[in-house]
């Protein structure tokens, strides 16, 4: 059963990674002059939308978190609205953190905000899909040894990887190479994307490698 689940995880993650690659390549056929560097904002939108829809679809199809009790329609709606609010709040929070890190406050607000949206898609959206708007569960998953299934382990790894990727992405900005990808926020968003993809690929492998040691306590 464990093996089968790992395989499902791998398939889902590879699907996400492929969708990111497609998001960079496919729009060039429909939109004139589309390129990741040239029309970065468009790419940011396309990439976030792709990853978001794919994540939601995967969540609906695979249902990794079984909710034991059937809930009413109204409850589902309120849950959905809560998720939207949480997502929006996480965008604002990421935006604030990016500005605190030194992004310009007034100029290029769109770029910064779209970058925040991308980061939220890579991190918060997955949490919302998997755990729902439940802060307690979030804190549990992100504290030490808090994961209770391979999906949650994978979530930990991808989230940390995308944030680290964005963090490392800021390094080349002060260099004076005058490359097009050094412009704010291209290097950071590329870093986050590569980090996310690396996380997607590392997570199943890591879980497979450590499957003997991983013991998830169930409640």
């Amino acid at each position: 059963m464990r093996e089968a689940e790992i395989r499902r995880l791998l398939a889902a993650n590879l699907l996400c990674a492929v969708s990111i690659i497609l998001a960079a390549l496919v729009p060039a056929f429909f939109l004139d002059g589309f390129s990741v560097l040239g029309t970065h904002l468009t790419w940011l939108c396309v990439c976030s939308v792709c990853v978001a829809t794919l994540n939601i679809i995967l969540h609906l199809v695979l249902k990794p978190s079984q909710s034991p009790k059937r809930s009413s329609f109204a409850h589902k709606i309120s849950r959905f609205l809560k998720c939207c609010i949480y997502f929006f709040m996480s965008c604002i929070l990421f935006h604030a953190i990016i500005v605190l890190y030194g992004a310009p406050l007034i100029e290029s607000v769109t770029e910064t905000f779209l970058f925040a949206v991308l980061l939220s898609t890579f991190t918060t959206l997955q949490c919302l899909c998997l755990l729902g708007p439940n802060v307690q569960a979030w804190i549990r998953v992100f504290s030490k040894n808090g994961a209770m299934s391979i999906w949650e382990s994978s979530l930990q790894i991808t989230t940390v990887c995308s944030i680290l990727g964005a963090w490392f992405g800021a390094f080349p900005i002060p260099l004076d190479w005058d490359r097009p990808w050094q412009v704010w926020p291209i290097s950071c968003s590329l870093g986050a994307t590569f980090g996310y993809m690396a996380g997607l690929i590392i997570a199943p492998l890591w879980i497979h490698w450590n499957r003997k040691q991983l013991t998830y306590k169930s409640r």
Binding site: I97, G102, L105, S143, W167, I173, P174
Partner: protein
């Protein structure tokens, strides 16, 4: 400058753009102008105290040729050429806030001198514009009138020279600048504005040209070219070390034969200089060119003497001239590369010493490590003597076999032996390392990241970004740590968790201060925070959670106060907005509020006397700033004349000394009479507050918020993060060091020479006095790191009850944190010494690092003094 423009447009003049080599500081530039050589970076240090120039130079040549030279202006010249002028009047250039007097001192002699006939050379050095740039920037309203004044002086000189000329030879009027001005009005670096200076030759000997071609961009020449050109123009020998080329258009009015002779002279001098400096000079392309040109020059002379056709002769002459010019250019470029010589042996010795310090890292990370120099063991070990002998042997071999001059060899033998002994002692002290703990590795990784970034010139230029980035990350990690400590209870004990949660909720609603009682039994793993104080008030918990965010916001505000670095330095920032003259009211308000806040943040732990002294001192700071015209009192509406504010500044100095003295007295008392640690911490805090007051006096008014935020962050971190989370001394030290570095850049400093605020050295001084000026400037520049280091001492000594070795351990870590980057940087610079930016980026950074090491050494001495008191007391 209407008159000058008119002269330039109407002809009888030649204008150029002279490129100065960095460092663009006055003294090296004057040397370059007069000797034609390229001075090294060490001259920046000596800039403050210029010894007489001993190299061969234009002034000396002119004096030996019997020319009478008169000089008025910057007294750097008088120091460089102490006995060369028949008449001089030097003006101290260092009182930067004075705009008019420095120039009046020069101009007042002008009328008298121009009437006289008893001089050959008149040198005037005007300082006003430079001072205006330093104090108020290049866009200041004062610049216009100053330029107009300069124009009038030029007009006066030119007209009087023209009127004199009828009888004698034509005169030459040279207008040039020693260096330019950067975007912020300072200089020292290598930006476009600083490096490009005007060079204008005006003389009736030049032929009048039509107005058309004057509109084109002036030609680029090197600043060093002026020395050769003037020497040839005056008929003097070109000084020996000059690497300049003759600026040909200036002698364009002469006949072809003379022109060729001039360039030949210049080329001969350059090739001789090349012969002296390189063994393989014959293979140098410049030298080969010169030989070819010389040969064709000989042919030309032959033709000329034969009385050949003038047309052919002229064309041939032009060709020879071109050959010569090419040769000159290659010669001087290969010479400029030559001039920087490196002393590998001394570099290696320095590197070894610092590397040995670095290798003791693992020792520092063990918990018990203290900063003490174990003197006795190495003195008795055989290894030590063997090492000494071996190093001395190496020293003798290197020094006797080295052909070129080496700084380390030229030191006295006693010093050299001392250095050897230091190296071998350090070698002996190094012992195999103990194991590293995880968190130490983590922090070291951050440090190593910074150190590696020093290899890239742009990371050095933008080093502030590295530090801002690190402290931001540090804050976020601290935030996560706090969250874990505050919420982990829920994880470990589910039933307790709900309890706590309810408590939180009720607190959020009613804002009651309920106490959360946590049984001491469960504290083993969860929350050092909870165990440290048994009762944590709910509101405190939320404040402590908010602390990292408040600190982040403070840092973001400070970041936009002063834009530094190179790439984004031109961005608008609050600092410029505040200092512009329209926003004087806002600046005054901000300064007043900042001073008030400083008082409130500092006074908590002071005794009553120092509280009063502090309040009066801060009042004095405000009145000092009002006196020199930076800020205004609300009841005062313009019209007050600007003074130097000496009385006010000295008034503040009295209180600074008073507070520091009371602090020291307390410290001594705690050491000698009673073993009271509270007395000691009060004493330390008083010393600290005295230094804060001094910083408040020296900082420009728009930088006062930096001081406020510094105190605020220290207070919050101490209360809500360091105390509850119980970090060990090494971690606290490294956090202090990081914040200190970040505050160094928050103040508006950078790794370029141009951002050093020289005016701080003249607060409360009538004229330039060397020692206090250097001390004050260094303090004002390094106030950030220094205040954080002293705060570290205050904090660690107040924690002595918890960890008795904290101070010693902290000191060791602090010294290491400083020496690691310096060590690696020295190695990197040695490796990169042929890098294109070695003079403009790496060398200033090295200078900053050097001074910082000195300051760290002073701080460490203070630490050890405090710590020895402690250990002495424990022994009792």
């Amino acid at each position: 400058m209407p008159y000058t423009t008119q002269v330039v447009e109407k002809g009888t003049s030649y204008s150029f753009i002279a490129e100065a080599k960095p460092p663009t500081v006055t003294m090296p530039r004057i040397k370059a102008l007069m000797t034609g050589s390229i001075p090294g970076f060490i001259d920046v240090v000596v800039n403050l105290n210029s010894p007489a120039l001993l190299d061969d130079n234009l002034i000396w040549q002119a004096k030996t040729a019997g020319k009478r030279i008169i000089f008025y202006g910057d007294d750097t010249w008088v120091k460089l050429f102490p006995k060369h002028f028949v008449e001089y009047d030097g003006t101290t250039s260092f009182f930067v806030s004075d705009f008019t007097e420095v120039d009046d001192n020069v101009t007042r002699h002008l009328d008298r001198v121009l009437k006289r006939e008893d001089w050959d050379l008149l040198i005037l050095h005007y300082l006003g514009l430079d001072h205006i740039g330093h104090m108020t920037g290049p866009n200041s309203p004062l610049v216009g009138p100053k330029l107009r004044e300069m124009d009038n002086i030029l007009k006066k000189i030119h007209i009087s020279l023209l009127s004199k000329e009828e009888a004698s030879l034509p005169n030459l009027l040279v207008v040039c600048g020693d260096h330019g001005m950067s975007e912020t009005g300072s200089h020292g670096g290598s930006s476009e504005g600083e490096v490009h200076t005007p060079l204008l030759f005006i003389s009736s000997a030049f032929e009048k040209r039509s107005g058309k071609d004057q509109r084109t961009q002036p030609e680029r020449v090197q600043q060093t070219d002026l020395a050769s050109t003037l020497a040839i123009g005056l008929g003097l020998p070109i000084s020996r070390n000059s690497v300049g080329n003759l600026i040909l258009p200036v002698v364009g009015g002469k006949t072809m034969r003379e022109q060729l002779r001039f360039v030949h002279l210049n080329g001969f001098q350059l090739s001789r200089l090349l012969q002296e400096n390189t063994p393989a000079y014959e293979k140098d392309p410049g030298y080969e060119h010169f030989k070819i040109a010389e040969k064709s020059h000989g042919n030309w002379i032959k033709l000329y003497l034969e009385g050949n056709n003038s047309e052919i002769l002229l064309n041939l002459g032009k060709k020879v001239l071109k050959l010569y010019l090419e040769a000159l250019k290659t010669l001087s470029s290969s010479l400029s590369k030559q001039v920087a010589q490196y002393d590998m042996y001394s570099m290696m010795v320095g590197t070894v010493i610092i590397m040995e310090l670095l290798l003791s890292v693992p020792k520092a990370l063990s918990k018990r490590a203290e900063f003490e120099v174990p003197l006795s063991p190495p003195l008795f070990s055989l290894l030590f003597y063997l090492m000494c002998l071996m190093l001395c042997a190496v020293h003798v071999i290197v020094c006797t076999s080295a052909e070129s001059l080496c700084y380390f060899c030229s030191m006295s033998w006693l010093t050299a032996v001392g250095v050897m002994m230091l190296i071998s002692a350090l070698m002996c002290v190094l012992k195999p390392c103990s194991s590293w703990s995880e968190i130490d590795v983590l922090i070291l990784a951050g440090t190593i990241g910074h150190v590696l970034s020093l290899g890239a010139s742009s990371f050095i230029e933008e080093e502030h970004q590295t530090w801002y980035f690190s402290i931001n990350t540090l804050c976020l990690v601290l935030c996560q740590e706090l969250c874990r400590n505050n919420f982990l209870l829920k994880e470990c004990d589910p039933q307790h968790c709900t309890n706590v949660k309810q408590n939180f909720d009720s607190m959020g609603e009613t804002s009651e201060c309920k106490n959360i009682d946590i049984p001491a039994a469960i504290d083993s793993k969860l929350g050092k925070a909870t165990s440290s104080s048994e009762f944590i008030k709910g509101s405190d918990k939320w404040i402590s959670l908010a602390t990292p965010w408040i600190i982040l916001i403070c840092c973001r505000l400070l970041r936009s106060l002063n834009q530094t670095g190179v790439q984004w330095a031109h961005r608008p920032d609050f600092g410029h907005w505040l200092t512009s003259s329209e926003h004087k009211f806002e600046l005054s308000f901000l300064a007043a509020v900042s001073l008030l806040l400083i008082f409130f943040l500092v006074q908590r732990r002071c005794s009553l006397v120092s509280k009063i002294a502090m309040a009066l001192g801060l009042l004095g700071v405000y009145s000092y700033r009002a006196a020199i015209g930076n800020v205004t009192f609300p009841w005062q509406h313009g019209g007050k004349d600007i003074s130097k504010g000496i009385t006010e500044a000295r008034f503040v100095y009295v209180f600074v000394l008073g507070i520091v003295f009371t602090g020291t007295k307390d410290l001594l008392k705690s050491q000698v009479i009673s073993a009271d640690s509270s007395m000691k911490s009060t004493g330390l805090w008083e010393v600290y507050s005295g230094l804060v007051l001094l910083a408040a006096l020296l900082f420009r008014p728009h930088n006062l918020p930096v001081l406020v935020f510094c105190l605020l962050i220290q207070t919050m971190m101490t209360k809500y993060i360091w105390r509850p989370l119980k970090f060990d001394a090494a971690q606290i030290t490294i956090m202090h060091y990081w914040f200190g570095q970040a505050f160094f850049y928050f103040q508006g400093n950078s790794n370029g020479i141009a951002t050093v605020d020289v005016s701080a050295g003249f607060v409360g001084l009538d004229s330039y006095v060397e020692i206090p000026a250097i001390f004050l400037t260094a303090f004002a520049t390094y106030a950030g790191p220094f205040l954080w280091a002293i705060h570290l001492l205050c904090y660690l000594s107040s924690e002595v009850s918890r960890n008795s070795a904290a101070v010693g351990h902290g000191c060791f870590c602090y010294a290491l944190m400083r020496s690691i980057p310096v060590a690696i940087y020295v190695v990197l610079v040695t490796g990169l010494r042929y890098h294109l930016f070695i003079w403009s980026v790496f060398s200033p950074k090295l200078l900053y690092e050097g001074v910082h090491v000195f300051i760290t050494a002073a701080v460490c001495l203070f630490f050890t003094a405090m710590d020895q008191n402690h250990s002495y007391r424990v022994q009792d």
